[in-house]
Amino acid sequence: MEEFTYTRPATADDATGAHSAAEDAMYMAGGQTLIPVLKQGLAMPTDVVDLNRVDDLAGIQVTGDAVTIGAMTRHAVVAASAEVKGAIPALTVLAGGIGDAQVRNRGTMGGSLANNDPSADYPSAVLGLGATVTTNQREIPADEFFDGMFATNLEDGELIKSVTYPIPEKAGYAKFPNPASRYALVGVFVAKTAGGVRVAVTGAGQDGVFRPAEVEAALSADFSAAALDGVTVPADDLMTDMHAAADYRAHLIVVMAKRAVNQANGQG
């Protein structure tokens, strides 16, 4: 790993200040992606601003109509939260299936979203629930947050503080994990909300997380797994790699969507 200057701010303001004062800084959240990236020399920042001691970025708040999760809240904490489970059980399912137990003890929601790995789980919850990302500068609606593979519309130095998930009528998340990495080969988040049905797919799109129009249309008419019988998703813009071809991923999207709908409907 290349050398860097390490700073450990105690407040979000100090963190953004340290970032802007440095030549080429990166924030470190849980580090479960960034540390491997630094080891491989895929990123060589002059400064690492560690967010792990910024207490006001972690925590969970549940109100009557929304769940707000601090950016530095670790996956294991969300997975084990009775409050989150009571409001949006699909979120605890999703968080409890990220990576492995050791990764969930360190990895954070904000880090996952800022990195926007095309196979990460959290982006599908943010897009599927139509959540709002709150940064040190503004509020960003889910539909405007993601900007392609490993890219978001965050400005340089902009810091995610929390995400607010509106509580849906029902929601579910199902993924086919890559057997080695546990990343989603395909993950599908479905939500029936006051504003309609939203579906978000991770692991499959060439441009990262996306909303499959065919699946949303079928589930808007009838929010049941049977409504997806015969529905197909075009493979044109899906990824092909050593793990799966695009047409296989297209098939898995419908299969995972059915499982997610069944989970949302309390049918397994």
Binding site: M1, F4, I35, D50, G99, A101, N105, A180
Partner: protein
């Protein structure tokens, strides 16, 4: 708010003993444990955050020490595999791995045992499925896992008393 120099000094508890040391920002926790503290029971298997051989407990929770900076453990309580058998006598989970031959080459074993101890601390009576899910972050390339799972179930039972 941070460290003024390029070489932070850290102070932490390792296996119950308070230690201090000077590290670089980029020093990994596993490097500090193995190279500075000379506790070589913690293994670096893959160095890409996948295999879990480097698993230690950080304030009671299992983490991959190759995917944490040493400076991030400043002020924490770290337990390594050596901390499970301070008197040289195997603890019940280690004994269960021995009894069930939950290993072949043994390289992954320290991480397996540390993860198993954390799993059982959270869930003293896990099902086989919970053990398998709980061990997803630990890779063994010899055994096929069958005896490891049997060892963890038996170790859990022994620890329940």
């Amino acid at each position: 708010m941070g460290f003024e120099g390029a070489m932070p000094e850290i102070s932490l508890s390792i296996n119950g003993a308070q230690v201090t040391g000077t590290v670089e920002g980029r020093t990994l926790l596993v490097e500090f444990i193995r190279e500075t503290m000379k506790l070589t029971g913690t293994h670096t298997g893959c160095d890409t955050s996948q295999c879990g051989a480097c698993t230690v407990h950080l304030d009671g929770k299992a983490v991959k020490s190759c995917t944490m900076l040493a400076v991030q453990a400043d002020g924490a309580e770290v337990t390594t595999i050596e901390g499970l058998a301070p008197e040289g006598e195997m603890n019940p989970m280690q004994q269960a791995f021995n009894d069930h031959h939950g290993l072949q080459c043994g390289f992954c074993t320290p991480g397996m045992v540390m993860r198993a101890m954390a799993l059982v601390a959270e869930n003293p009576d896990p099902t086989e499925a919970e053990v398998r899910h709980g061990l997803e972050g630990n890779i063994c390339r010899c055994t096929g896992y069958q005896n490891i799972v049997a060892a963890v179930l038996d170790g859990a039972k022994a620890l329940r008393g």
